[in-house]
């Protein structure tokens, strides 16, 4: 290789040769330059991009929320028109669910899971790059349509016939359906990567019962994605077919059915909320364990509770349709299954409380957000139990009570842990600490702002205020509370602002973080912050569930991986026995090109069904380019 003769060998690396490490770095690193940035397949770079993009969508969606709150602050305001309002709440909901909450959790997994299981890259790294570009394209599609005043205006669940060919005029509902396709393709791709990474790329010795809880949560989530997303793909495709080529799936006059849409949507939509929530379970378990300096109590019950939640979540969808006129007896079955989900949820809460009970809590920002989570999520879960009752739901369905419920569980149950997770893993991702002082301010403002904003919505709902109204008459008793809610929303936004400013500032000026600033126990903390392109100099060998707490400041590792090509270890599914040294693909521009080709095909198909035919050719070409062997070392076998 070099002038001095033979290239460095694995033995040199094991002996601590710097030259060998530099060589390994060169093998794995992403060169600088624009094209290289488009071609990278490093899970850390893609994961960071994914997280940053998702947070941009959170800000944008949050600004829309503020616009809605201004409109609703007073009765009969004319701040925005009905049409604008309808676009805005639809984009707010769709954006938050499809462009923020689900992707941000996947993004965390893309970044963290390979590190946590002790490998050097995610499985199918090119698919990973592809999924990011497809996600970005879907997000741009939605937001550009809003900027052009032709955004979808039928709510985030697009009920037919309102979204159907007859009443959903223009291209608005098609844009919604195609945005769904983009985000689902990317979510499915990431789910496949996560499943295979967790099953096959774990460090030697990491048997199934030594996987960190966070990784379990992402594994269960990935399975939920795989099993639930096909339903929404089917739904959105059949909606487009109805609208574009005149199929009759949802037309009752021709044997179709309006409620079929609701069944399909919620068969996906309910698991969707646990796709958002389960990663938070993993985050909370990780943070609680680190900030009480003991393993989380009840590893098995926690894992089983997540699996149980995952399974049960496919049997609840009708609780969104209690007033649609389905048989009452059938509905009562779904009351029972919805309530049953309180049992695994409770199990999780109780295990965390036990951990806090026995451990020595260190009240740093991540733990504050977890405490905020516990308070808020329990309230949201309990209102969930209330709306699971058929008669009770027949009163509060489609009112602000439900709006309150789902913001409690979404923000309290997912966004709070997520912000905690950012404070927690920021040092790992950027090499710098965030400010503890700003963190406390952010927590204080977000927590108070949140409860002041959303608690009164329960009361508004009980007072009969329906959701999705752009205005309301002054003679009803809703005005005072609405003004209060709107003002509080600005406190909440202020809290987010503090958080974002802190993150941006710390990214440049934060104090340097060592590899393990919190004395945590999982493998991602064994490597420098930020991790080098190859993650681990040597693949670790795992001997316990808390590898960093057991070994006396040393990490058991394995040598023997080549340095001249990207190589990682494939291990067996249950025991984590090493089975092979496998090559990990090199950087490539093809995933980017394939994403562009796919994007053109999907967007074209909004306008003409033939786009699927002529658009398929570029897709096939780019995919062939992607998979065609390039005679690199990675192709050796």
């Amino acid at each position: 290789m070099t002038g001095s003769g033979r290239p460095p060998s694995p033995a040199d690396l094991a002996a601590g040769s710097e030259e060998a490490e530099a060589f390994l770095r060169r093998t794995w690193s992403t060169p600088s330059g624009f094209l290289a940035a488009l071609s990278t397949v490093d899970h850390k770079i893609i994961g960071r991009r994914y997280v940053a993009t998702a947070f941009v969508f959170l800000i944008l969606g949050g600004v829309l929320a503020l616009v809605m709150r201004i409109q609703l602050a007073f009765p009969e305001t004319r701040f925005i028109s009905a049409d604008r309002y309808n676009q805005i709440f639809t984009v707010h909901g769709s954006n938050m669910m499809f462009l923020f909450a689900v992707p941000v959790m996947e993004a965390m997994a893309v970044y963290l899971v390979p590190l946590m299981v002790g490998t050097r890259n995610i499985a199918f790294p090119r698919l990973n790059a592809f999924s990011y570009w497809i996600y970005l394209a879907g997000g741009l599609l939605l937001w550009i349509s809003l900027a052009l005043d032709t955004a979808p205006d039928v709510g985030w669940f697009s009920y037919v016939p309102l979204a159907g060919p007859q009443y959903g005029v223009g291209k608005r509902a098609d844009l919604w359906a195609q945005m769904i396709t983009f985000t689902e393709v990317s979510a499915l791709a990431v789910a496949v990567e996560i499943v295979v990474t967790v099953f096959k790329l774990r460090a030697p010795g990491m048997s199934l019962d030594r996987i960190p809880v966070f990784v379990w949560s992402m594994l269960v989530t990935a399975f939920l994605v795989i099993l639930a997303m096909p339903a929404i793909m089917f739904a959105s495709s059949s909606l487009i077919l109805d609208r574009l080529v005149g199929t009759q799936f949802y037309n009752p006059a021709e044997g179709g059915d309006v409620l079929l849409w609701q069944h399909l949507f919620w068969f996906f939509g309910h698991p969707e909320v646990y796709i958002i929530f389960l990663p938070a379970v993993g985050i909370v378990s990780a943070i609680i364990s680190t900030f009480t300096q003991r393993p989380v109590f009840g590893y098995m019950p926690l894992v089983l509770a997540m699996i149980a939640t995952g399974i049960l979540s496919f049997g609840l969808w009708v609780h969104h349709m209690f007033v649609a006129g389905l048989p009452r007896l059938g509905s009562s079955f779904f009351t029972a299954s919805s309530m049953a989900i309180a049992i695994p949820a409770g199990t999780q809460i109780f295990c965390w409380l036990a951990t806090l009970w026995d451990g020595r809590p260190v009240f740093k920002t991540p733990l504050l957000f977890v405490i905020g989570f516990l308070i808020t999520f329990v309230i949201g879960g309990l209102t969930g139990v209330m709306v699971a009752s058929v008669p009770l739901d027949s009163q509060v369905h489609d009112t602000y009570f439900v709006v309150a419920h789902f913001h409690y569980v979404l923000i309290g149950g997912s966004v709070f842990p997520l912000i905690g997770a950012i404070y927690y893993w920021f040092p790992k991702m950027t090499g710098r600490m965030m400010s503890e002082r700003s963190g406390r301010w952010a927590f204080g403002l977000i927590f108070t702002g949140f409860h002041l904003t959303f608690f009164p919505m329960h009361i508004l709902g009980l007072q009969g205020m329906p959701r999705r109204v752009y205005t309301y008459p002054p003679e009803l008793p809703w005005a005072g509370l609405n003004l209060f809610v709107s003002l509080s929303a600005f406190i909440l936004a202020g809290g987010f602002l503090v958080f974002f400013i802190d993150a941006l500032r710390s990214f440049r000026h934060g104090p340097r973080a060592g590899p393990n600033p919190w004395n945590a126990s999982t493998l991602e903390w064994a490597v420098p912050s930020p991790p080098p392109p190859y993650n681990f100099r040597h693949i670790p060998v795992v001997e316990s569930r808390e590898p960093l707490w057991m070994s006396d400041e040393t990490l058991a590792v394995a040598t023997g991986l080549r340095l001249d090509r990207r190589e990682l270890i494939v291990s067996s599914v249950t025991a984590g026995e090493p089975e092979a040294r496998e090559a990990s693909p090199a950087d490539s521009i093809w995933p980017f090109l394939a994403a562009i080709a796919t994007g053109i095909m999907l967007i074209g198909s909004i306008f003409s069904p033939w786009a699927v035919v002529w658009g398929a050719a570029p897709v096939a070409i780019t995919l062939t380019g992607w998979f065609w062997p390039k005679q690199t070392r990675e192709d050796e076998s």
Binding site: A82, D83, D257, I343, T347, D358, L382, S389, R467
Partner: protein
Amino acid sequence: ADGPAASELKSLIFLFVAVCGVVFVLVMSVMAWALVRRKNQAPGEPQTERSMGRVVTGAIVMTFLVVSFLTITSFYATNGVDRGRDNLPTITVRGQQWWWQFTYLDADPARTFQTANELHIPVGTDVRLRLEATDVIHSFWVPNLTGKQDLVPGRDNRLTLHASKAGIYRGQCAEFCGLQHSHMALLVIAEEPADYARWLESQRKTAAAPADSDAAAGKLVFMSKPCAACHTIRGTGASGTSGPDLTHVGSRSMIAAGLLENTRGSVAAWIADPQTLKPGNNMPLVPLTGEELRQLSAYMSGLR
């Protein structure tokens, strides 16, 4: 809560809130205690682990018992709320973008009549509603009388209303149905049976003849302009069906699905420019002179 269904719902809500409140307070107290208590043992003692295991198991069992209790209570309340599933419906409710049409059925088709946005019912008895929709999904909801029920195109839903006190109850479409979903309200007027019978009789009558010359001129305007293509006024040539039946529009207390108080002025304002008052609704602006408008509103107000 002025009906049996509503008061039953109210006590169910109280029960749920109380039970959930207790659960919340318990969980939060444990959390607070766990966070502040002094710890004099190293974490992870097998002894502590075992006793925590027992407590957690106990809490899970308690959760199971509580949710079973709530499920059963909810099930029995369902039976109460949904009384009289099988009697024949007497009133058909049809949701349209963005107003309500009510058809009072009668064995004698000549006595069947239609009205809009204002539903009269007798107090003290169950009233069966048949809910239907022809365009998109709507949802019929009068919070103080009973829970909501969707109106789904292609489906035949039923709902029982029961008011135990006379009075005016506001209701509103609860399922998002497009641009003017916010302005799709209705009024339920519960009356003593005698008053109700009188109201029925008055509604069955055909439209009152114009009382003065303004109104008579208004009638001519109505018949010559597109109005008659969309609205029915029984007893005249107007028999359109895409807008509300106006035979007794003057007797209603609100117009345009709860948008405006029904006064002569607001009727004139509505006819003059429906698209500003309720943007996007399905009644177009019909160009009229000021004189025609005055006459039309006189005619409308006289249709009692």
